[in-house]
Amino acid sequence: MKVNEVPQDPKDFREGAKVKKVIYAVDDDGKYTSVNSAGWEAENFATKQAWDAIDEELAETAEKVKAGELSPIAYYMHKCLMEPSLLAKYVGKWQWQVNKHMKPSGFNKLSADMLSKYAKAFNITIEELTSFGK
């Protein structure tokens, strides 16, 4: 890639335009140099698509929590871009236990201590956690 071919397509979502990363490209004499790039259409599209998928899934999860199919833990887990395996590590439980807590029946039995562990993992208050979807 030549220096003048380095794309400058701004990543204009989620503050992505704040970083102008370094790309290596060759000048007219074939010598390598580093150039700042605002972004590239193809890459911006892929990243945006990944975020859109997360948003869609989050909206679906929110509906399920409101319908009483899932607990608020499922919602905040998606919001924090986590999966049950990762969340389990943050709260010091097994994955099957986290899966259980993602159902309203399991969630309602949680101790105050456990709730505070989840709230801490999501960086929210216990009140925010328990009141979601109500």
Partner: protein, 334 residues
């Protein structure tokens, strides 16, 4: 306190950038491409059954920590590396290093770095950054992917250093203790090249090195039959992101490695390396061409501008050219 002032330099890739910046502080001028090449940073792997955030794991680089380790070993530089059990211990050890006037490199999770734009903040636990000082309660951060230095609150830094998941940084910190009077680049460059060729050409399993490019090509061909349109687009998107997103220097580190070969060619007065650099630049252009068409494919799902078959074919071309390329690179090094 040390009399030297830490100076920040923006780079393409976090680990080779951190390595270059730490060395510069010690008075060794080693460019980012040189650090990347000597550290044998280039690689490829595609492991379909290892799902990372729901998509098959794909990487264009070697595993985290390897570049800094190999560069310092190959240049006979004395370093200190350490993992910690608790954030308290890790943070107080960092304070001690800063007190002694040394900048320290460390692993972190980008998800917990508030100074990065949200667009990049996924649970990626192998991001390298340098802390070079402390003012009041805040740490002064030199993150190689940013144009300027920044700051971070101690709670945030502790969280980023003790993120859970795979891999777990466990507060991993490293700094340079002392450097030799002279460094010998020629041998370091040769062993770096040798290792890269070995990792690209020798793994007998289909998921690592050059063979993995063909594995990915085969999988992509099957996407329309095996996956929903949405999943296929997400899988393909993930490959593009791994190839081009922040820190690769373009074309999945291929341009960065080509820059290394060119610099090495000039330094060692070897025209063969310069020629190979130009060739790898062209292969990099092929990778970019693949990413461009893959994005078009995802964007315009119905128009079928370039079908999955053709995308797969574009990758096979990259794979074949690289196989030939690395074989010849290996031979120049004998």
């Amino acid at each position: 306190m040390s009399s030297t002032i830490y100076s920040h330099c923006q780079h393409a890739h976090c680990e080779s950038g951190v390595t270059s910046n730490l060395l510069k502080y010690e008075g060794i001028d080693l460019s980012e491409p040189m650090a990347f090449g000597i550290g044998a940073g280039l690689f490829f792997a595609h492991i379909p059954f290892l799902k990372v955030s729901g998509t098959p794991g794909t990487t264009f680089r070697t595993w985290p920590g390897a570049i800094f380790k190999r560069v310092t070993q190959r240049l006979n530089i004395d370093v200190h590396t350490q993992k910690f059990r608790t954030p308290e211990k890790a943070m107080s050890a960092l304070d001690d290093v800063l007190q002694a006037g040394k900048p320290a490199g460390m692993l972190s999770s980008v998800y917990y770095l508030p100074y990065l734009p949200e667009a990049f903040r996924f649970h990626f636990n192998a991001h390298n950054l340098i802390v070079y000082g402390k003012e009041g309660n805040e740490y002064l951060v030199s993150d190689p992917v940013l144009e300027e230095v920044t700051r971070i609150a101690p709670e945030d830094l502790a969280k980023a250093r003790f993120a859970k998941g795979t891999p777990e940084p466990k507060g991993f910190m490293y700094y340079i203790k002392s450097v030799p009077k002279e460094i010998h680049l020629e041998k370091a460059i040769q062993s770096g090249i040798k290792q890269t060729c070995f990792f690209m050409l020798s793994p007998p399993l289909p998921w690592f090195g050059n063979k993995a490019i063909f594995t990915l090509a085969k999988k992509i061909k099957q996407y329309p039959q095996k996956l929903t349109t949405r999943k296929a687009a997400l899988y393909l998107g993930n490959v593009i992101r791994m190839q081009e997103e922040i820190g690769t220097g373009g074309a999945g580190f291929r341009y960065l490695y080509a820059a290394f070969l060119q610099e090495a060619g000039v330094l060692l007065q070897r025209d063969d390396l310069k020629g190979l650099s130009a060739e790898l630049t062209k292969i990099g252009d092929d990778w970019r061409n693949f990413a461009y068409h893959a994005a078009r494919q995802m964007k315009d799902r119905k128009s079928d501008l370039v079908s999955f078959d053709e995308l797969s074919h574009l990758l096979i071309i990259c794979g074949e050219k690289e196989r030939d390329f690395f074989k010849r690179l290996e031979n120049t090094n004998r």
